[in-house]
Symmetry: C2
Subunit: 207 residues, 2 copies
C-alpha cells in the first residue's frame, strides 16, 4: 500500500535531497556568498520551485543549518556514549574530539570543511538577529550536551568529584569550535588527529 497521491502534478524532486544539496552549497559559499542561482544549480531545481518548496533564501539557509545541527547532534551524542572498552574518561573525551574532526573537519568527498553553522553564520550574526539565534542555539546545544555527559560522568565516578565540570565543558566545546575553524583554514584531518590523544589527556583531570 502506498500513500494516497496528492491532487496535482507530482513533485519532481526529493525534498530531503534538495535540502542536503542546499546545505552543501551554503556550507561551501556562506550565506551572502551563495546566490539563488548557485542554489538552484546545486539542487537541480529552478528558482520558482525552490521558492515554492523551501521558501526564500533566508528560510532555506536556516532550514539547512538546522539540518546540519541535527547531523552534528547525532554524531556528538554517539561519541559521548559510554562503551565497555573505555578504560577511563580520557577515552570518551578522545572520542568526542574524533567526532569533532569528523563533523567539523574536512569532508573530502563533498569538498567542504568546517562547521557549517559556525563557518557561515558568524559573518551574518551581527546584521541578522535570526541567524545569530541559530548560531547561539548551536553553541548552547553543544555546551548542554557536553555538560549533561560530564555531570553524569562525575556522578558515576568517571571524573573526580572536585572536577570543574563547567570549565571542562567550555574547553571541550571550544576545542570543537576551533577544529572547525582550523579545518576551514586548510588544516587536514591528519594534522588534527595527531593532536587528539594529547589534547584528551590535557583536558582530563584523570591522569
Amino acid at each position: 500500500m502506498t500513500t494516497a497521491r496528492p491532487r496535482g502534478r507530482p513533485r519532481n524532486y526529493d525534498p530531503e535531497q534538495v535540502l542536503e544539496s542546499a546545505l552543501r552549497a551554503f556550507w561551501k559559499g556562506g550565506y551572502s556568498g551563495t546566490s539563488l542561482d548557485t542554489l538552484a544549480a546545486a539542487t537541480g531545481l529552478n528558482r520558482p520551485s525552490l521558492y515554492a518548496g523551501l521558501g526564500d533564501k533566508r528560510t532555506i539557509y536556516i532550514k539547512a543549518m538546522r539540518r546540519f545541527q541535527d547531523y552534528a547532534r547525532e554524531h556528538f551524542g554517539a561519541a559521548l556514549q559510554a562503551r565497555p572498552e573505555d578504560t577511563s574518561f580520557v577515552d570518551v573525551v578522545a572520542r568526542y574530539l574524533h567526532a569533532a574532526i569528523n563533523v567539523d573537519g574536512p569532508h573530502e568527498s563533498i569538498g567542504v570543511s568546517g562547521c557549517a553553522v559556525i563557518s557561515t553564520a558568524t559573518a551574518e550574526a551581527l546584521t541578522d538577529p535570526e541567524i545569530r539565534q541559530v548560531l547561539d542555539n548551536v553553541l548552547e546545544e553543544m555546551d548542554h550536551q557536553l555538560l549533561a555527559r560530564l555531570r553524569e560522568a562525575q556522578a558515576q565516578g568517571e571524573l573526580p568529584p572536585n572536577t570543574d565540570i563547567e570549565a571542562m565543558g567550555f574547553l571541550l566545546s571550544s576545542t570543537a569550535h576551533s577544529i572547525g575553524i582550523r579545518s576551514r583554514a586548510g588544516h587536514t584531518k591528519r594534522d588534527m588527529e595527531k593532536m587528539v590523544d594529547s589534547l584528551a589527556r590535557a583536558l582530563c583531570p584523570v591522569k
Copy 2:
C-alpha cells in the same frame, strides 16, 4: 619642518582612519555582506576615491584584516609578558584569556563583536584562496605566539618539564577562537569573564 607636499590635489582623508572604518564595516557585515556603497558610507569616501586609495573590495578587505591582526598580535603579546606580581603561570593564562575577551569579545563602543578575521573569513575561505590564507596566517600566528611563550615558561620553570606544551597551546588558542564565536553569538563580556579563572586553572598543569 613638514614633509614636502606631494604634487597635485591633497588627499581629503586620513588613510589610517579610512582603513579603520573599513575594518569596522567588514567586521560587522562580513566580506560578501558588505557592499562598496556601505564601505563608502562608513569611510566617508566615495567609491572612486576608495578604489584609488585602497584598491578593489578584496584588497581593502585583506588590508583591513591585516590591520586587525596587528591589533590582536599587540594585545596578546602584551598579555603574555611576565609581570612581577605573577604568582604562578595561571596568572599569565588568565591574562591571555582576558585579552581574548577584550580583542575578540564585544566592542560595545563600535557595535561589533567576535574576531574580525575568524568571524568573516571563514565564510569565504573555501571559495577564495587568498582569504583562506589570511585566515590560516592568523591562526598560525596565534599558535606560534603562544607556543613561544609556553616554551619559555617551561624553560624558566614556570611550567613543569613534563607539560605537553603543544596540547596546552592548542587548547589556549582554541579557547580564544571560541571566545570570539561565542561573543558573535551574543554572549557578553561578563558571561565570559566569570569563566576566566576556572578556565585558567583547568588549562594550567600547575595547580
